[in-house]
Symmetry: C2
Subunit: 421 residues, 2 copies
């Protein structure tokens, strides 16, 4: 059985590799035509999409999936609208492929520059969220990459139905159907095969919980663009404007609790306890946020906070919980963030130019902000048009990953019979 899965995955890989050669030089208009045709196919297939999803939902309920999982699994007419809209939006994004930059002459007389090219074949591993199938496929297709999609097994019927729409869209545009392939088996060995075929797969993008991503990173023989966790900080500096500090900290925590760019730990300079922390505690309490404070916090806000444990400083709550620490300098704040943060997104609230510069330079995170909410750290807000994830890696792509993160550059050299002397 596992042998069969391996052979099956290698067939997918080989087909993807072949398709990637076609996609790499497919004109922008052809890729857009495929995206728009797939959108039309989804629109025409609403009934069968809902039916297929119904099967997944029934099985999910029978297998005791919890409400959150069922919610992510469900396709509704509104979610189908969003998928259709997503495809059309990706079609409007500028095509990065083939862009040649920095052409210049060097002393030998050759002219050289860099051409943007697709990575090749991208494997996406994700949980049972059918809409991710469309998001990931559309970004990979637009950036000229072939994709192998391995969604959670609970969504298999939905994903197959979506894949059929994508196939027909590709066909309409004259592109190979194997440009986007959904893994049709729920055998877990498929994941193991996908992440260990460097001959067919150039990069893996896992989307899901930290456990899944850690496991994939550990076992992969293919580079992984990974997003581990978002332990994001706001530091309220001695020179913070109190009104901005309260507004930003409130937004960073409460605008939405679940996203990875929500604040998990608030760091407050001791001089800002009365001006910022006291009013902020009130605001957050009114919104039902549980506050976990350092010993100094507990002295000042005895009834309002519980004690933070050492573990709290490393915790990604994704929930109405906030760890709070009072400290005495920007140095302590930077040290805390570099030690406990996850190199995701951190913000300082200050009016001091020099302090802001230090924070920007010394905090080692994918997004570093001054007087802005950590919630801005995403591909749409950053103007990337869409994102396939937020990378907490340093190599290749860091921070929100849009189309460019799915590309590479190669050198192009023009000569006129030039030889090296």
């Amino acid at each position: 059985m596992t042998d069969d899965v391996l052979a099956y995955m290698q067939r997918l890989g080989q087909a993807a590799r072949e398709a990637s050669r076609v996609l790499a030089s497919a004109p922008t208009a052809q890729k857009n035509r495929a995206l728009l045709a797939a959108a039309d196919e989804l629109d025409a297939a609403r009934a069968s999409l809902l039916e297929a999803n119904g099967k997944d939902m029934d099985a999910g309920r029978a297998n005791g999936l919890d409400d959150a999982m069922l919610d992510r699994l469900e396709l509704t007419p509104a979610r189908i609208d969003e998928m259709i809209e997503g495809l059309r939006q990706v079609a409007t994004l500028p095509d990065p492929i083939g862009e040649i930059q920095d052409m210049r002459y060097v002393p030998s007389g050759i002219q050289l520059g860099k051409m943007r090219v697709p990575l090749g074949v991208i494997g996406i591993i994700y949980e049972s969220r059918p809409n991710v199938t469309i998001e990931a496929a559309s970004l990979c297709l637009k950036s000229g990459n072939a994709t192998i999609l391995r969604g959670g097994s609970e969504a298999i019927h939905s994903n197959r139905a979506i894949a059929e729409c994508l196939d027909r869209g590709l066909e309409t545009a004259g592109l190979p159907a194997s440009a986007v392939q959904v893994v049709e088996t729920t055998d877990r060995a498929a994941v193991g095969a996908l992440i260990t075929m460097p001959e067919y797969v150039d990069v893996i993008v896992p989307r899901g919980g930290k456990g899944l991503i850690e496991r994939i990173s550990r076992e992969a023989k293919v580079p992984v663009i990974k997003h581990l966790d978002g332990v994001c900080h706001v530091y309220v500096d001695v020179d913070a404007d109190a009104e901005k500090a309260i507004r930003v900290a409130d937004n960073a925590k409460t605008q939405r609790y679940a996203p990875c760019n929500a604040m998990e730990t608030l760091l407050v300079h001791n001089s800002q306890v009365e001006s910022v922390l006291r009013p902020l505690v009130k605001v957050l309490q009114d919104k039902g946020v549980e506050l976990r404070g350092c010993p100094r916090c507990l002295e000042l806000f005895a009834g309002d906070m519980v004690a933070a444990t050492e573990q709290d400083w490393d915790e990604e709550y994704n929930a109405p919980v906030l760890a709070i620490r009072i400290l005495d300098s920007v140095d302590e704040a930077i040290a805390h963030i570099n030690r406990h943060g996850s190199q995701h997104t951190d913000s300082i609230i200050t009016e001091n130019f020099t302090t802001a510069r230090r924070f920007l330079t010394e905090v080692d995170s994918s997004s570093v902000m001054v007087n802005a909410s950590t919630r801005f750290a995403d591909g749409f807000e950053y103007g990337l048009g869409a994102e396939i994830g937020i990378s907490t890696d340093k190599l290749h792509a860091r921070g929100p990953v849009g189309l460019l993160g799915l590309t590479s550059e190669k050198y192009v050299v023009f000569g006129d019979g030039h030889i090296r002397g």
Copy 2:
């Protein structure tokens, strides 16, 4: 023993991580001061460098190292000059760190851009070539990275002596000595530890033979910037200018045989047999190059070539040997290169604009050239100032890797109390 090595490597790792924080915000002038001071230290330590290297050479001879290895191991006054010159040259390169690019306002009102930052800690694993110690250390230092250098055990005395000069240079500039650390044990477990400490090491750059690099890639838990092999092609198109074709192919093969960017396979359109291939065979034979031909070649050049086996098309000779194949179209040439090449450097000789564009787009290699010798593919020729290697990866750095390849970018966001709506 192995436990001790592990503990030792972790101490190095921890010290490197701490030093990397200092280096990340070290001013350009301070880094340059360290480079120039290290150059002066090398200059002052010539006698002890030669003495240390003498020990390595004696041991190498006693252990039966071959001449090529002894040659790479040897430090001569001229090589010490080159190391000193190299340090001074890296000091003159522009510092990429801290550069902020593309600052722009997005619709929410925040202003965002990207700041160039060091990767952090770089582990370099290389063979017994003491000059690599200086090359690698200087590039990493200039790009604000801490380095752990693990050279071949045959060079241990030389590397220690060089490390002392680097340490004194760092000290003169007020930088931590642990910014550059040479692994002082020859225990092979040190390599195993170095490539599996993601908490302390951000990237590994192996420099050496294909076997070493494959082994490191297989076992590493840290990203690897790797250079596997250089199976480089020149394709002489139907529309090639014969004179340019002969000149470039000759140079690509014979200007030097050992470099990875030398041509290993020549592809010739059938129409160019008399105009290009016949005179070229003469030129190459006069230089003593062994020619291995496809069946069509053998028919035409019976006495001049031996038969190429299937394996020859995948071979990196690094020697006066050339595989030659006659084919009938640019399509066949592209297919051959994408199948047998190593995605390093490939060149087309053609006067045809459209054919050139196709080759540039469809050949999936880190450098793609038109009418130029593959020998140009290196960091100095490309104006990078220096190179730490040539990457055959697609992610992060591709092609010659200079200072920029040792850096990453983070997003910086400026607001004025902006929150997400």
